[in-house]
Symmetry: C2
Subunit: 491 residues, 2 copies
Amino acid sequence: MGKKLTKRSEDYSKWYNELVVKADLAENSGVRGSMVIKPYGYAIWEKMQAQLDRMFKETGHENAYFPLFIPKSYLSREAAHVEGFAKECAVVTHYRLKNAEDGSGVIVDPEAKLEEELIVRPTSETIIWDTYKKWIQSYRDLPVLVNQWANVVRWEMRTRLFLRTAEFLWQEGHTAHATREEAIQEAELMMNIYAEFAEKFMGVPVVKGLKTESERFAGALETYCIEALMQDGKALQAGTSHFLGQNFAKAFDVKFATKEGNQEYVWATSWGVSTRLMGALVMTHSDDNGLVLPPKLAPIQVVIVPIYKGEEQLAAISERVEGVVKDLRDRGVSVKFDNRDTHKPGWKFNEYELKGVPVRLGIGMRDMENQTFEVARRDTLEKQTVAADAVVDHVVGLLEEIQENIYNKALNYRESHITEVNSFEEFKEVLESKGGFLSAHWDGTPETEDKIKELTKATIRCIPLNAREEEGVCVYSGKPSKIRVLFAKAY
Amino acid sequence: MGKKLTKRSEDYSKWYNELVVKADLAENSGVRGSMVIKPYGYAIWEKMQAQLDRMFKETGHENAYFPLFIPKSYLSREAAHVEGFAKECAVVTHYRLKNAEDGSGVIVDPEAKLEEELIVRPTSETIIWDTYKKWIQSYRDLPVLVNQWANVVRWEMRTRLFLRTAEFLWQEGHTAHATREEAIQEAELMMNIYAEFAEKFMGVPVVKGLKTESERFAGALETYCIEALMQDGKALQAGTSHFLGQNFAKAFDVKFATKEGNQEYVWATSWGVSTRLMGALVMTHSDDNGLVLPPKLAPIQVVIVPIYKGEEQLAAISERVEGVVKDLRDRGVSVKFDNRDTHKPGWKFNEYELKGVPVRLGIGMRDMENQTFEVARRDTLEKQTVAADAVVDHVVGLLEEIQENIYNKALNYRESHITEVNSFEEFKEVLESKGGFLSAHWDGTPETEDKIKELTKATIRCIPLNAREEEGVCVYSGKPSKIRVLFAKAY
């Protein structure tokens, strides 16, 4: 398989699919809709996990683990919840195989049928609230601030690597509180943590907002979200945080004794981000040469490639490189010295460009003489020559600069792709010609929302939290509106 | 629920079940055979994971992620493998629910039946070797050294928290090699890493050995294992590492071009440890007062409990404690200062004893005057008074001492419970009166092994790697034998 990618301008979707596979992030498996996350992709996910986990723990959350299977009857307890998930549930009905009598192989043993079918969790509110009933009796038991890292399954008909897969990895926080206000605060806190993670670590600028009623999580009173914009002008929901009110507490009868001795239902939130973030990361920064990774999440931050003929030259170069590797590692930088003799330098340059390694150091015999390194940065593809004794400081500074630069580049793109539109003609015109977020007045009804979606495929991504009140009329119905919302086509 | 435990001498099994629940490690869920791992238990598991993951990465392994579901036909490809797992497979047959027409709730939609049933992975050899077929073409692609952290499901009829659950968490390494020798080396390396982890971190002494043919992993040519001994004289298999030969490469047609240009089948290993280790940890060290945790895996290594009346005293104590907390943290020790006024000191002492916190510091007004702390160690329950300015050094040293002491205590128990027996009468007598490992001659046949199991419930735990050749006769059949193997009743 060649490493040459389709250009983004030719076919953005094909470019993405090829890049994910060729850069060794993930690939399709023999199981329809399920992916294999390859070691290089998984290493990025591990860095995301580690940072998010730190942020969760710093804000008082603990990890736990709940069952993969959910009895079918649990799902049904919360009406909106089951309505939302019933159409995509993988169902376990039997617990044994046996040899077919005709010798054709193994078959499902019809005698090993479960009394009650089990659903492979699409999300864990129900099994968790069934557990919280045992954990919570009194206000002293609150808040419960728990997160789990897990796999979930939602049976999707059309799947794409990372963006939409039948099985995906995620974290799901599930918290329980004594008051409505505290639960809302928690839901907002987690949205803010997600936004901080997306911007500071992934380098992905996001809009914080609220989902409309029809886009809310099944069972939530309010869904907070962060929305990112990809390079093709389509939006991507990067994380959600739900204020669940007392819905699950009522469904699972979870009450607590207040300080005053009353019995009240517990208030809840849930929040999650998934391996979908990998898709957002790839689509925000990468280019026609391959991945562009933010230094803070890159498994390899710096690669050093020697250019040499024969063992003697390699030995000399290796000696010079050794000190640089050590000094960089002491500064907390992850470095790979690729001294394999099975591949040529040109091949290696392409390979690390494809894989998005933020900084590449080249060193050949002329650099040896001049006491220099050639320093190439992945984001701008610029190269410069740097004195060997200054290279460590230079690289450390450059990694910070790259982290900042790719964020700013994405921010500029996003800012120039939020367009205020004031008529439905304009709406359609901008959506087709330019894409991005359309900031438009909306009359607040699901009917108008549905109609616009039907006519344009654009949905309301969010009601931005920072929206100002402004008198206006709905772009579609002409009815009065006090606030602009963000529409876009979305992943 | 009272916190008082059943004594080990009264009912070891009941003691274990109560302890796991009361110490907040895990509990049963609403799903038969599946457990909830509670935050305190999960925090220990996270420490285990972090250390094992470090050891895997230091030996060149990378993490990846493979699908939860395995098409039924994949399992059948390796005959011994499917034979071994067919009887405990959870099977997904449908992918949608719908509302029952009689309004009684949701039912499985009969129209959403899968063409091919999917098995919830009991282990991942088959789906992984189906993937390796795409990854491996040439000797240059070898070795593949991959691990995954995942959940697996084996439908067990009799379950016990951590020891045997329908779903459990584990890691499974799957490696591919160019030669038989290299694969065997890898399998041995991983067994050694497991043994090092068990002994140095869990404080659990283990015997390294080989499984007999009938105890081998389904599909393996050789299974290496580490076997631990619990306080009730029963053995527990704590980790296994399998040399799989070319079985899976043949089943999934994975060949590679050698340096010489020939096509050969790839050699394989797999190896895993699971949340079962949590059971081993609890049963090796804990006592009638609760958990005893090795400092290296304890989520809280030191707890500080103030003894005071009124806010003024608490403020004074807190000021003194603050510096100690900081100094301990600077030394890498995890410390909790439990200054809650909702619980009395006596309650806290019991609570942290139950939870196995290795060191407890108490400080009251007399300690304030005398500039001392009361230092209590969990393993021996000994207390001593230590000068405040020496307490940090003392605690750091004490943590090391406790780590060593609990290992030695477990080792002494184990050593005094390996008994050489030379007749079947002696075998049965020692097994019933004392338990532990019985070192006995065996004629090498599965028939004798089965018969002994049938008559005594003891199985061959392993053929120890360090066994010396010795002329003897099988304790059961009287046939000649050259080596002693270890029998025991086991979890």
